[in-house]
Symmetry: D2
Subunit: 111 residues, 4 copies
């Protein structure tokens, strides 16, 4: 595989038994993600990390272990996207779609 | 349930047999989503729509039917989040996490 | 697309505010799925339906609407797989992998 | 957390650029999973492993690395379910739903 094995990992970690508001737990995961030094993007359904396969899986593991300290049940959904030799895809994938359509697309964060 | 049943739907629709670059197909879905009039956010792993349950599922259906015109195999992952009486969550969920941590979080689109 | 548009839909519907045990809510969804008349398979992380695109999305919608009667927050993950002209894939996809490997694979339900 | 941190991990690893039939690649992942010694269940939309958090993430990593040897683009969806102090959930989660409904549910593998 060579030296570089960069992936995007989208993850969403949710405790089941703590009521309908889980933002305090999401914030704890984000603190771990932010401290990892990896590039990431928070959106309204999860967080996307870019990094080596080992690195992003380690962050996923630490988020789950952290929430498990005070949660008996945790669900986590994740999606991983590998493309050989590509890096910087947090931005380039969106740009590619926008270029195809010839315009900027709806992005509430910029509003 | 009352009159309002607003959800967030995150979806990602991908043809399997068209090589490693699928941005042309993602762009076709985004054209459908954009024309729906629903609020949405495109990120690097999918698109998030906000709307009535019926509305967002109808958009999902039309994206798949459109790609099926020239693709024999399509995979789609989706995640749905319902919270009674809440609207505008494309923005408010992120704000809630940022408020808990007391700072803005990594958001490549604004860089 | 012609008359037949059969897909596999895997879904998992979970209320967030009802503690760590959610099997009573899963059972309510299964009652809806079972009554739909569609072929389905329950596994330990979700349920897979086979049917027309319209049919499976309608079942998904009814599951969410049913749980929303007494849950303020619901999360649902789903995955859809379309393959033109194929039907009966609840069984054939597994058989295809087992044929490639030349043996039966771990299937706890049969133990 | 103590010594035991058992989770269910559902995963589905798919190369994007190899046409509509990907069963040969799924079979390679299943060979890795089968050799891991972990309990697992193959279903028509993915495979579910039960094991320590470290163990299941290591299997996920090795599946992706293996397919990356001859695939430029790979997508992987995963879902993880942790419940403190529970083991053997590949079977017990299904039994719990069936007990609630008082009957066996559709399970094509047994037909």
């Amino acid at each position: 595989m060579g030296a570089i094995f960069v992936v995007l990992l989208e993850l969403s970690v949710t405790p089941l038994g703590k009521g309908g508001s889980v933002s305090a737990y999401v914030a704890r995961c984000l603190a771990i993600i932010d401290a990892s030094g990896l590039e990431y993007e928070l959106h309204s359904m999860g967080t996307i990390l870019e990094g080596e396969l080992d690195e992003v899986l380690d962050v996923l593991k630490r988020c789950i272990e952290d929430l498990a300290k005070d949660n008996d049940r945790i669900t986590c959904s994740a999606k991983l996207d590998y493309r050989q030799g590509h890096r910087g895809r947090l931005r380039s994938k969106i740009a590619s779609v926008e270029n195809t359509l010839g315009r900027k697309l709806g992005t509430p964060r910029e509003a």
